[in-house]
């Protein structure tokens, strides 16, 4: 699939995948296969000289398949193919390849400075020992550390002052992510201890090794993901607390839906009698989700909550979620009120709802609530923004309570379980490949993948299928947002004007939509007057229609060749699965 003419997007963004050494495969095979299919159709055979590629196969999950791994049969493995591309870019010859790539506009030279930022050659972690690929992970911090380590590499050992310098970089990276100053200090201390004694291994460069230590420490600090602990006699009371505007009410609704999906019967209690229309807000959300709400009386919050629990008992609801008013942790009156609510309802869970964008204030907030009312967990909200979320580390270190959920959007189902490794990546500015994969999995179902495979095999992939594919990618969210999740692409995503890529998408989609089903199934019939009509219908030009058609023809040709290859085809089928 060639989308518009975004050669750099094609050639780069989707290829930047891999797995971290020692941590097992991180890519879901389906996603990998989709990308690989994408790639093999994109680069004409022979372009990268992969016909004589000496490397054995790498299979979908990054492991060597028993039967394939030692096979001498050379074949175009897409991963190796990509590595070859990287090597050429490294050698300053990347533009030659890109200018031949089908996605590239004709008669237009590809830029020669393909290193950064138009074509950042980064990440791609080692897929196997045979590939000998240049393992580079955790781009942004690694980049900063590279400079420090330039000399270390020659000496092969870490000196005290090298460590100092690199710790400074780590410190700044964490501070930029809004991790608390003191927490950073302790953290860096721990990293120093481990780094100084660490052996320099062959498989990782010193910079990578240090980053690995940092990442492991981060994951450890973030702790194990928490789950709701609903124990003891029902109804289980969950109390949500937090500052004003942290997202308690929205989270209450999301949480109610979450427990309902687990077979519970939630009751929402609106205990915010201060903010105008707070009760109304919860009522509206309850109505949307078809969930019962209790509240709205003129009495005090502790009383409303106690009555809410009574009400739950009466109605046989087994989970009560208390939405309390936003308050400052230093507001003693308001904190006393929370204690009263706690005493009146004996919650099994007291969760602090905190904004992922919180700055250095995080420690004071978390500590303030924990000290006064005792927390059992944290929920981080607005994680769908571009905040690094260092506040999570601060709050977690100061309270020691687990992070239980992440709020990732305004929709009521946008509540995700917490994964320490993903958040660690995000804090270090390494992208969030896993979330990207999950979205891909949600958008592409197995059946569709199988159908695709069949179409490719029979070389009957037409513009209808192309349209399907387009729409599936669109379901995953705005392209720029997807880009940001890919390690190393954050910078690129920021340079792409907001929506630009999505606009390209839209144009392509509009063109295809302006065709009749007949035309989509058989694009060959599209001649002069049809082109004019399509261009007019989609608000584009005949040139653009031509471009799309020629790209599509090229793609079909590629697919046909793929379909002919026997061994290749088998592998492709496996890839598609």
């Amino acid at each position: 699939m060639v989308v518009g003419h975004l050669p750099y997007l094609n050639a780069d963004s989707c290829l930047r995948v891999g797995r971290q050494p020692d941590s097992g495969p991180v890519l879901h095979p389906k996603w990998v296969s989709w990308l690989r299919c994408f790639r093999t159709t994109e680069f004409p055979a022979g372009l990268l000289g992969q016909r004589n590629h000496p490397q054995p196969y790498c299979t979908t999950d990054g492991k060597h398949n028993e039967t394939d791994s030692h096979s001498e049969k050379p074949g175009p493995d897409t991963h190796c193919l990509y590595l070859e591309l990287l090597r050429r870019v490294d050698a300053g010859r990347g533009h030659q390849i890109l200018s031949q790539a089908p996605g590239h506009p004709k008669n237009q030279p590809a830029p020669r400075n393909l290193t950064k930022p138009t074509f950042p050659v980064t990440i791609v972690t080692q897929c196997c020992e045979f590939c000998r690929c240049n393992v580079r992970m955790f781009e942004s911090l690694t980049d900063r550390l590279q400079a420090v380590f330039r000399d270390v590499g020659k000496r092969g050992i870490l000196r005290e002052q090298d460590v100092d310098e690199m710790l400074r970089e780590i410190r700044l990276a964490l501070l930029e992510a809004d991790v608390d100053y003191k927490v950073v200090k302790d953290f860096v201390g721990r990293v120093r201890e481990r780094a100084v004694g660490a052996e320099v291994t062959k498989s990782l460069s010193p910079a990578q090794q240090v980053v690995k230590i940092v990442s492991e420490e981060l994951v450890q600090t973030l702790g194990k993901p928490g789950r709701l602990e609903l124990a003891g006699p029902a109804p289980y009371v969950i109390m949500l607390v937090g500052l004003q505007g942290s997202g308690k009410t929205t989270t209450a609704a999301k949480l109610a839906q979450h427990v309902r999906q687990q077979g519970r019967l939630p009751l929402l209690v609106a205990a915010d009698t201060y903010r105008p229309a707070a009760t109304k807000q919860l009522e509206v959300l309850g109505r949307q989700l078809d969930l019962p709400i209790y509240g709205g009386g003129e009495t005090s919050p502790p009383q409303i909550c106690a009555e809410g629990v009574q009400e739950a008992r009466r109605r046989g609801r087994d989970v009560v979620i208390l939405d309390t008013a936003g308050r400052l942790q230093i507001d003693e009156d308001m904190m006393t009120e929370l204690r009263a609510v706690r005493e009146a309802t004996s919650p099994v869970e007291t969760l602090l709802v905190a904004d992922a964008m919180t700055g250095q204030e995080a420690v004071s907030v978390a500590d303030g609530f924990h000290e006064r009312i005792g927390l059992t967990g944290l929920i981080l909200t607005k994680v769908d923004g571009d905040a690094r979320g260092g506040a999570a580390i601060s709050m977690r270190s100061v309270t020691g309570v687990p992070i239980k959920f992440l709020g990732t959007g305004e929709r009521t189902d946008a509540l995700e379980l917490f994964h320490p490794d993903r958040l660690a990546s995000r804090i270090l500015g390494m992208g969030d490949v896993l979330t990207l994969i999950e979205r891909a999995e949600q958008a592409f179902d197995e059946e569709q993948a199988e159908q695709m495979e069949r179409k490719i095999r029979e070389a009957s992939f037409d513009l209808e299928d192309f349209l399907d594919q387009l729409q599936q990618v669109k379901q995953m969210g705005p392209l720029t947002q997807l880009l940001e999740m890919i390690p190393g692409m954050r910078g690129v995503a920021q340079q792409v004007p907001a929506g630009a890529t999505d606009d390209q998408f839209k144009h392509v989609e509009a063109i295809v939509l302006s065709m009749t089903p007949e035309e989509r199934r058989n694009p060959r019939i599209i001649k002069g007057s049809r082109k004019k009509r399509i261009a007019a219908g989609s608000g584009t030009s005949v040139q653009e229609v031509n471009m799309l058609l020629s790209q599509f023809r090229q793609m079909q040709r590629m697919m046909k060749e793929l379909g002919k290859g026997r061994g290749d085809m088998q592998r492709l089928m496996r890839l598609m699965g």
Binding site: L175, Q281, G385
Partner: protein, 303 residues
Amino acid sequence: MATGFARSIRDSLSRTRNAVFSRVAGLLGTSEVTDETWETLEELLIRADVGVETTLYVVERLRRRARDEAILHADELQEALREELRGLLPDPAPLNLGGREQDVVLVVGVNGSGKTTSIAKMAHHWQRTNRGVLLAAADTYRAAAVEQLDIWADRVGVDIVKGPPGGDPGAVIFDALQAARSRDKDLVIVDTAGRLHTQYNLMSELQKIRRVASERVEGAPHEILLVLDATTGQNALSQARHFQQVVEVTGIVLAKLDSTARGGMVFAVARELQLPVRFVGTGEAVEDLAVFDPDAFVQGLFE
């Protein structure tokens, strides 16, 4: 105004238990400037959310000044720090309001930053200066957001034009401007739905809202104020950058400064985007809004 502002800043900061800046005076004291002083200074600024980059910039400038001007004692350094911080904040030109038939103020920000409350406070503020204020409740997205503003409008005693839930915000503004004209109101404040600056679609909706306003009233919106939560960290800069790019923000409202947060990110925002801070929210009551005065703000940080 300045003294009033100084007082409210002082009041709000005095409520904070460990206002970092207030430690500056003590820590810098009259002792000699040593390496440790620089480290302390760096820590103070970062803990006030001034941001790594801006902190390093300020500390570097101070180091240079200390060398060039032979600053030996920390109290002189404190004075220099005050100047440097003040220098980061632009001198605000008067608000682009008044002198025309109708003023339109568009208020934008991320979810939960305090837009609605700030709007109520601003309505109250302008009403006291004898402006005929009308609110446009164009947050048709969040559940009960319109009701929330409606209650505020009632408390403050200003008119409000509401849209139906899920309705088109552009239509609400269209109606509001029409209503303002017929009811003889000369200042329309538009509340918009909170949106994360990374949501492209919602951000382009803002452009549409803006277009509707400018088609109806010449030069509208005359002010586009971005509400920032004072507890926000480095992300504030990203927010300001994105909103600036999409709708040309003209000023900042710093909400929730009554917490222990220091709002130091306004220095970073001012340094990069030259955006003036217009108002500061200092509490939950409708009176808890102060017109921003950079001198008093910087001064207040040291008291």
